[in-house]
Amino acid sequence: MTALEVDAGITLVALTLYVVFGGADFGGGVWDLLASGPRRDAQRDLISNAIGPVWESNHVWLIFAWVALFTCFPLAYADIATYLNAPLTIALLGIVLRGAAFVFRNYTSDNVALARTWTVVFGASSLLAPFFLGDAVGALATGRYAWTSPFALSVGLFDVALCAQVAAVFLVRESADPALRDDFRRRALRATVAVWVIGVIPVLLARTAEPQFFAALTGSTARIAIALAMLLGIVVMVLIARHRDTLARIAAGAEVVAVLGGWFGAQAPQLVPGRYTLASAAAAPAMLEAFAVAAACGAVLLIPSMLYLFAVFKGPGRVPEGET
């Protein structure tokens, strides 16, 4: 394996982990915005407690993927940063407001009016960021940076649905209260249906508007990944309905991986379709090697630390497993 392939792999893994974990944190914000019913405040507390200890480290995956992109593929990076300036800037605004509003809300909860304001900001920015990040991805896939195209916008919408789905599935197991668990169980089921339905839109739009991307998407690798993602959606629903909450978490994570696998499979080895491949955008070999070595050394520290964090706050025994 060449350093180029290793670095591309690291970048994609970082991006994938961001979409799974960072996406779940955004999805938590979406459910915070949509909190309703007699347990509205309890739902929000659950969301706060679930994402509080982990959102900052989950967020670092985005920074890391962004840094990996400019370190290893500076030519494509400069191109993307130039032509996707608008959607990325809006997403950035969402990222800033989400993080700040989340922590401000947590520390103003004894002032109802202020807490309500920050809660709205937290929820709205949790919609804004994944929508425009998804839109940027859709725009990238067009090869024309057409971020206002219906296709790109539909990818943004799909990303929001995906974040909400993963968050709902993850949140079920966060509570010890059966009523609260059922609240998120219902949300998880509805969101999974929504992901299924909304997921069809970009594919249909690509068929007419982005024939090249559609052809790649229906090519062998991508086709398998997308079929797998659709299948895993059904698996998630079955597991959630049968109260197999831990397995449902794993299936939801795998579903996101499959969705991204469909995109990577459709686009590889193009980094910006028609403009840059991974190889034509790459930095000098010395840099590619240095990055791979740095990442290997960093991973030795990162992986045990990350596992410890999740063991303390998300580990088994924290809440009772489902009734089954």
Binding site: R39, D41, A42, R44, L46, G52, P53, V54, E56, S57, H59, V60, I63, F64, W66, V67, F70, T71, C72, P74, L75, Y77, A78, I80, A81, T82, Y83, N85, A86, L88, T89, L92, L93, I95, V96, L97, R98, A100, V103, F104, N106, Y107, T108, S109, A283, A284, A286, M287, A290, F291, A294, G298, L301, L302, S305, M306, Y308, L309, V312, F313
Partner: protein, 454 residues
């Protein structure tokens, strides 16, 4: 607004905002860990309460620091894609290492902030240590990238193409050590004086009379860090100034406002910087020649050796430098006076508390001014000798709208932070992370004092 000016204004605003949070993110963990260590040793409740109060402040400051840092990492490309196209593949290594340092920082700060009631006291204290270390490391890594912008190394340009890239040599460009030292110490100066100032202010206003022991302990810990850091910062500042005199003559001539190469070069404080000299400044004849070469006859090269279109904005650099040095002088003075008073075990006099309280904003001014010196002093280059700032800017439209938008957000965030930190600090149980609903009270992370500290 002019396109380049809008980009520079946006980058500058983002950095000026972030640098305060970044410094506190480096320094505050040290203070909190010190307070908790004192609690583990002495079992005195005041230290525990102090660590809990500071840790709440750290939660707010770190979150805002993390997201404002994200803005910067994106703006490098969103505003300066031409620069990143060249530089990304040369200077990406320290950014990548900074990514890992930031990971460790974020992971352990999650453990530290949310682990108070979940981990044993000793284990909890230990989770703070990686935050202290990785915070300093991330600041160091990022600063090596800035050092490279001052003296780009680790590559060759052949026929307009970058070749022979050496990422290690780029990371360790000549100014890396002096810059990293100066910047990292700045974080401890700002945090030490900042924390002490907050405590001094509380003692002056008698707003925390029910917690005097806690506030006094906070003042002492803050002042110890500050008093160790500020003399070291003077030494580091002297070293970096000498480095600039040797290697970055345009910056050095600008910060000292030396327009004409001369023997017996003076140190000029303040004054009105014109296009060809300084008027009405306080002039100390020959002082600069002595400082630079130890010899009043030594010649100091001036801006006349620098082509006009390669000169930094002299006034901005000179005034920033004077602000930095002036602020640092006050900080040093207060630190010495405090040290004498503390060693004589005197009750701190009211005027000394006022002095310490003033040091809070003054230390922020010193850091901001120091940052302005290096950034304005590098202009008109984004990477000195390699790429001009005006050539590095994006072609994307609407930068002025972005600038106004982000500035507004920063103003709101700064105000919200200020308000929240005041509540966290002034009310014994104020700003507690409380649940929104009553029946979820089992998940509240209220300040519950552990029954057996050790």
């Amino acid at each position: 607004m002019d396109h380049v000016i809008a980009a520079r204004a946006q980058m500058g605003t983002s950095l000026a905002f972030h640098i305060v949070f970044a410094c506190l993110g480096v320094g505050l963990p040290l203070l909190v860990v010190a307070a908790e260590a004192m609690w583990l040793r002495t079992h005195r409740r005041a230290y525990y309460d102090l660590a809990r109060t500071w840790s709440k402040g750290m939660a707010i400051l770190f979150a805002v620091g993390a997201v404002s840092g994200t803005v910067l990492s994106f703006e490098l490309g969103l505003l300066w894609p031409v620069f990143m196209r060249y530089a990304g593949g040369i200077i990406g290594l320290p950014f990548s290492l900074e990514g890992f340092a930031f990971f460790i920082e974020a992971i352990f700060i999650g453990l530290y902030l949310y682990g108070w009631d979940r981990l044993s006291p000793r284990a909890h204290w230990l989770t703070g240590i990686p935050v202290v270390i990785s915070g300093a490391l991330s600041a160091g890594f990022v600063t090596t990238a800035n050092a490279w912008m001052n003296m780009p190394t680790g590559f060759r340009i052949v026929n307009g193409q970058v070749t022979d890239v050496n990422p290690i040599a780029a990371m360790f460009s000549p100014p890396w050590l002096v810059e990293v030292t100066h910047t990292t110490i700045a974080a401890y100066v700002l945090t030490g004086f900042g924390a002490a100032a907050v405590c001094a202010f509380a003692l002056l206003r008698r707003s925390a009379d029910d917690r005097r022991e806690q506030v006094r302990a906070g003042l002492t810990i803050g002042m110890i860090v500050a008093t160790v850091a500020i003399p070291l910062q003077w030494i580091a500042g002297d070293v970096i100034a000498r480095f600039d005199a040797d290697h970055e003559p345009a910056k050095f001539a600008s910060l000292e406002a030396i327009f004409h190469s001369e023997r017996h070069a003076p140190v000029t404080v303040g004054g009105i910087v014109g296009s060809d000299g300084v008027r009405y400044g306080i002039v100390i004849p020959g002082a600069l020649s002595i400082l630079v070469a130890g010899n009043p006859d030594a010649e100091v090269p001036g801006l006349d050796r620098v082509a006009r279109n390669d000169r930094p904005p002299v006034a901005a650099v000179h005034y920033s430098f004077d602000t930095m040095v002036g602020s640092a002088s006050l900080l040093l003075l207060v630190a010495i006076v405090w040290l004498v008073a503390a060693l004589r075990r005197r009750e701190l006099a009211r005027w000394l508390l006022i002095g310490i309280a003033i040091c809070g904003p003054v230390s922020v001014a010193a850091v901001e001014a120091g940052w302005f010196v290096t950034e304005f002093g590098r202009q008109p280059w984004i990477a000195r000798g390699l790429l001009r700032t005006t050539d590095a800017v994006t072609i994307a439209p609407g930068l002025d709208v972005q600038f106004y938008g982000f500035s507004l957000v920063y103003v709101v965030l700064a105000a919200a932070c200020w308000w929240l930190l005041r509540r966290v600090g002034t009310k014994p149980r104020g700003g507690e992370r409380r649940s929104l609903s009553a029946h979820q009270s089992d998940t509240v992370s209220a300040t519950t004092y552990p029954s057996s500290p050790a």
